[in-house]
């Protein structure tokens, strides 16, 4: 499976087949997130140029 090879992984054939079988369902789950309008201001993570103590995450 190309995605696994690109990640450097080389599992045995039966496990590649297992992950390949999971992929369509995984992809549908991921596409669900892309269907949500997250607007223009919401960032995945907040990076700060200076240490401000802790960030609640």
């Amino acid at each position: 499976m190309a995605l696994l090879a690109a990640a450097g992984l080389d599992p045995p054939e039966d496990e590649i087949d297992r992950l390949a079988a999971l992929y369509p369902g995984l992809r549908r789950s991921l596409d669900r997130f892309h269907a949500v309008d997250a607007g223009d201001e919401v960032a995945a993570a907040v990076f700060r140029a200076a240490e401000t103590g802790t960030d609640g995450g």
């Binding site: 995605l3 696994l4 690109a6 990640a7 450097g8 992984l9 080389d10 599992p11 496990e15 297992r18 992950l19 999971l22 992929y23 995984l26 789950s29 991921l30 669900r32 997130f33 892309h34 949500v36 997250a38 607007g39 919401v42 960032a43 995945a44 993570a45 103590g53 802790t54 960030d55 609640g56 995450g57």
Partner: protein, 477 residues
């Protein structure tokens, strides 16, 4: 005091230690004897520190006799999930793969705080490999079994702490929770387990699974005992940059004092509680679970709580997002070792972590953006409806058998826990009864960020009216 007369809870044992009817040495010996009898069947321990524990117990007894009372946990024996570093010895994460030098620095901040509070560390408890995967019979580690029925799973990944508390081999312990790994074994074993607000308890000294989802949490018989542990565990530490003080400060007097004060002030009366009614919860539930949950909700209402059905916005995204994102985060941590030592990982673990390689960068970014929106939506829902808490079953089904399990019952959709890892909200599982096969079921209380004290108080209030948390399994000391 005979072994069978030793109380079940930290609260009651604490009284016995202080009135002289029990010593920490006697208690520790009894729990070690229980482990001698039960561990081979239940697979609770990866390592036991018997000599060190007895030494520490003797010190605790001497201190208490001299009037030095460190905390409600003084002299209390605990089990520690073996993904947390301890001074006593190596951490394995129940894997052949973890670098043997990982954890050489010894105790992280939570362990240091617990020792300062006077606990006795009994040993390291079993876990799923790297806190993820499924029971794996192919590797040279014990497979944890459920003390209510050893043909059933304990749940995970804090499996050994879960079955250790339930079977009376320890009075409490540490687990970790990234998608449900404290609350799931708590529910399956019939004990109480608390996932603190993300950032309340420092995670340093813990093998990471999903760094932006991981929490270290207490597992005990009761919500009150969880509060006693949280008093010691909580608070920022410079070694974990995700930790912060609660915005309104710690609860006045601490978590235990707040829990007790709440009971004095009426317990559950007056609390506004949302019963989560999303399809993902109501349809992914056995009929027996729904019936027991409905009875638990009636108990809450009878205690004076105002309970109404609610739907949490973007609930499905919160739930599945936690697992997708933690797989990506876990893959980032494990990538090189997976490349070098694929076969040394257990099959369930490596196939789960490898799914993290199937997400692209844009996927993870969007999961995290939606996570931010959904967290805000959950807060807005609670604000708009004036809710103090949310409740749901912890899981849709009780513990599954190792073979022949109902696929629906062991799917991730049966877990009603991960949404609260996505939001970072505090979440507590307490026993609420049994299914038709007399297997425990869990009731989950969820609070606003940093409302851990209220969540634990609600659990304690429920437990002053019920006794599910005091039921003991067939396999018990």
């Amino acid at each position: 005091m005979a072994d069978t007369d030793i109380p079940l809870t930290i609260t009651e044992v604490g009284r016995a230690l202080r009135d002289g009817s029990l010593t920490s040495v006697r208690l520790t010996e009894a729990l070690q004897a229980a482990a001698d009898r039960l561990d081979e069947t239940l697979g609770t321990w990866l390592a036991r520190f018997d000599e060190q524990a007895l030494e520490r117990a003797a010190e605790a007894d001497a201190e208490l006799a001299a009037g030095r009372d460190r905390s409600p946990l003084h002299g209390i024996p605990l089990g520690i999930k073996d993904i947390l570093a301890t001074d006593e010895g190596r951490t394995t994460a129940q894997s052949l793969v973890l670098d043997p030098t990982w954890g050489d620095q010894g105790d992280g901040p939570v362990l240091r705080r617990l020792r300062e509070a006077g606990v006795v560390v009994l040993g390291k408890t079993t876990t799923m490999e790297f806190a993820i995967g499924r029971p794996d019979f192919s590797k040279p580690f014990p497979v944890p079994r459920n003390p209510w029925n050893p043909d059933r799973w304990t749940g995970g990944s804090s499996s050994g702490t879960g079955n250790g508390v339930a079977s009376g081999q320890c009075l409490g312990g540490l687990g970790t929770d990234t998608g449900g790994s404290v609350r799931l074994p708590a529910a399956y074993n019939g004990i109480s387990g608390h996932k603190p607000t993300f950032g309340l308890v420092p995670k340093s000294g813990c093998v990471p699974l999903g760094l932006s989802y991981d929490s270290i949490g207490p597992m005990t018989r009761s919500a009150r005992d969880c509060a006693a542990m949280l008093d010691v565990m909580a608070g920022p530490d410079p070694s974990d940059r995700t930790t912060i003080e609660p915005p309104d400060g710690p609860p006045p007097g601490g978590y235990l004092a707040t829990v007790d004060r709440r009971i004095d002030e009426g317990g559950l009366a007056g609390l506004r509680i949302g019963r989560i009614d999303n399809d993902e919860v109501t349809r992914s539930c056995a009929a027996a679970t729904r019936a027991v949950f409905d009875a638990a909700v009636e108990d809450l209402a009878a205690a004076g709580a105002d309970v109404e059905p609610v739907e949490v916005p973007l609930y499905r995204e919160l739930s599945i997002g936690a697992f997708l994102a933690l797989e990506a985060e876990a893959f980032a941590w494990h990538r090189q070792t997976l490349i070098d030592r694929w076969d040394d990982y257990g099959r369930p673990t490596r196939l789960t972590i490898a799914q993290g390689a199937l997400l692209n960068g844009g996927d993870l970014v969007q999961i995290e953006r939606v996570r931010q929106l959904a967290r805000a939506g959950a807060v807005e829902l609670m604000d708009r409806l004036g809710l103090d808490l949310l409740v749901s079953p912890t899981t849709g089904w009780a513990a599954a058998p190792f073979t022949g399990a109902n696929p629906e019952a062991v799917s991730t959709t049966a877990l009603h826990t991960p949404a609260w890892n996505s939001t970072g909200f505090p979440a507590l599982s307490v026993p609420m009864g049994f299914d038709d096969e007399h297997l425990p079921l869990g009731l989950q209380f969820v609070g606003r960020p940093f409302a851990d004290a209220l969540v634990l108080a609600a659990g304690h209030g429920y437990q002053t009216r019920t006794s599910w948390h005091l039921e003991v399994p067939p396999h018990h000391r």
